[in-house]
Symmetry: C2
């Protein structure tokens, strides 16, 4: 039997958890990125290469059974080179959409999915007319690309703040969005295999602080489960998607509003390692290899995931608690940095 080998673009904690998951199934894993000592490089082969090295990227994708990516902002050129192999999943258009807040919202709109009010902005004049046209409310101006964790964004509560906001985001192509008065945030993580099989995890209830996920809580039978999965299925189908896809929603008055999507395993799905029958990492690999998907059933009555930011907890304290599972990514401590997570299962 020829050994299955998986190429992963990127080598952060998501790559680390994908690699561990793939190793358990006996796959050969190789990661590629441009960092010196990325945390995933500790648990699998790691090839350091420039992401602008076309030949290396092509050779990398060509030699593996399949290639995937563990970070959202893979340059589209890299995806294009890798996809020449015919073995890159998810498909590049999913990344193109995920990397552009305007394309994301427009895709949702096109599919008849509710979103917060929004308008495209490519100049100060357009920003002014967008602000005037969107109606009453508070707004947030976001660059279309490469903003994350609260960067590249500016609040606009009044017309007088428009010019400063435009300057503060660097006068880059942007989207003006209603600052959405949500009651809660949920994410829906769904795997779709290259054979079209689909399995969804239970909805994740997420808590952010300063734009960073701090906590995910999951209970079976969320009232919006079916509605959310129906939305994600539309997106999967439209993008002809294979792999794990995550869609984040706002919830208001019992309704879902599309916020954004991630063409990959997701921080809000880390609970699935111990909290679900099959983890999002294993199901992503199964999906892109065209293997049967594993059960996504939750274990226990409730699962909570807490991100560990900045500083590792005292192992003596954490490890003595029952049903609490610690994950550290081997990353150096640094204020605010995601260096691990804890998963608590309530039986």
């Amino acid at each position: 039997m020829t050994r299955t080998s998986i190429g992963i673009l990127g080598a952060g904690q998501l790559g680390r958890m994908l690699a561990i998951s793939g190793a358990q199934l006996g796959f050969k894993i190789e990661l590629l990125h441009d960092e010196d000592s990325p945390c995933a490089g500790e648990v699998a082969s790691y090839q350091k290469a420039s992401l602008s090295d076309e030949q290396t990227i092509k050779a990398f994708a060509a030699k593996h059974s399949v290639t995937t990516a563990e970070f959202e902002n893979v340059p589209l050129s890299v995806l294009s080179w890798a996809s020449e192999s015919g073995k890159l999943f998810p498909p590049p258009p999913a990344f193109a959409v995920a990397q552009d807040r305007l394309l994301e919202k427009e895709l949702a709109q096109k599919l008849g999915i509710k979103t917060p009010r929004f308008a495209p902005v490519s100049s100060l004049a357009e920003l002014e007319s967008a602000f005037a046209s969107l109606g009453a409310g508070k707004f947030v101006l976001k660059t279309r690309s490469l903003g994350y964790d609260g960067k590249g964004q500016a609040r606009i509560n009044a017309a007088s703040e428009i010019a400063a906001a435009w300057t503060s985001i660097g006068e880059r192509p942007a989207i003006l969005e209603e600052f959405f008065p949500f009651e809660s945030e949920v994410s829906c993580i769904v795997a779709r295999s290259t054979r079209g099989e689909i399995k969804a995890y239970d909805l994740c209830q997420n808590t952010h602080q300063s734009g960073i996920l701090v906590k995910t809580s999951v209970e079976p039978n969320h009232p919006l489960q079916l509605a959310a999965v129906a939305v994600v299925e539309k997106v999967l189908s439209k993008l002809n998607y294979s792999g794990v896809l995550t869609v984040e929603f706002f919830v208001k008055n019992g309704e879902l509003y599309f916020n954004e999507l991630a063409p990959r395993v997701h921080n809000s799905g880390h609970w699935t390692i111990e909290g679900a029958e099959t983890s999002q990492f294993e199901n992503h690999l199964r999906a892109i290899l065209g293997l049967p998907l594993g059960s996504t059933k939750i274990r226990g009555n409730k699962v909570e995931m807490l991100n560990i930011l900045g500083t590792a907890p005292k192992l003596e304290e954490v490890l003595k608690e029952e049903n609490l599972h610690l994950h550290l990514y081997g990353k150096e401590e640094r204020p605010g940095r995601k260096i691990g997570h804890l998963t608590k299962i309530y039986w």
Copy 2:
């Protein structure tokens, strides 16, 4: 915080699963062995070195927070060099005992633990008198050291077979044991930390074929659970042991008879990865680091582990079954070789 680093002597599948388990807790893992491409080298740093290179072994143990071993027959010289660091667990005497079938049985006897009848043999004359003295029954002659999976053994059913048996085991120091008419075989896996904390897993019911473990089955509340743990605790205490220790027993008429011990995580404990709250691998690492041990509670009503020998199963078939967890070790297929295992949880 200084990063915890763990040195592992050996780099087979036990090392691979230890390394994966340690990586999830954020530990830095390094394996050392003399093979070119051992399967654990895929998931952690690997140092190839001769096991007779004293300086390398000493330096290896000195630089890690703790050092442990993943195979039983680590040369005692290697253990002696590594233990100069003061950070080698389990302690070398546990290996000395495990590597010698006679010392093993004598230890049990000294502790008042029932064993099959046995007698030491160091010459043909001694073998003859041992055979005469042990009474009626069938017997097996085993070399004291370095026999495993049925090698280095010869059956003796009658006095006429004595000479041939002595020749067939190479006339090496041996032990003559009653060929024990057991009803079943169980193993008891217990973790003891450097702080003296002890946690035991549920008894594993084992099935061997041709001396190789093929299946382990575990259900809570085995009637011999307490008796088995009491025996293992005596051994742990006598050996001043830290880490996971496995003791294999025969069962006859509802009583336990000591068979052998392994100073390490054990094939019959692979079910603990998905089938217990904390795996034997994680608990071994916690134990040798002096961290609180994790719960050893079984998940579900029953767990079964099947070894995969020789040939990998068709992934399409295996992965479509619910509650079945596949592990492959990245080893080449070869007749009879342990290349993976399956764990089935019955909820």
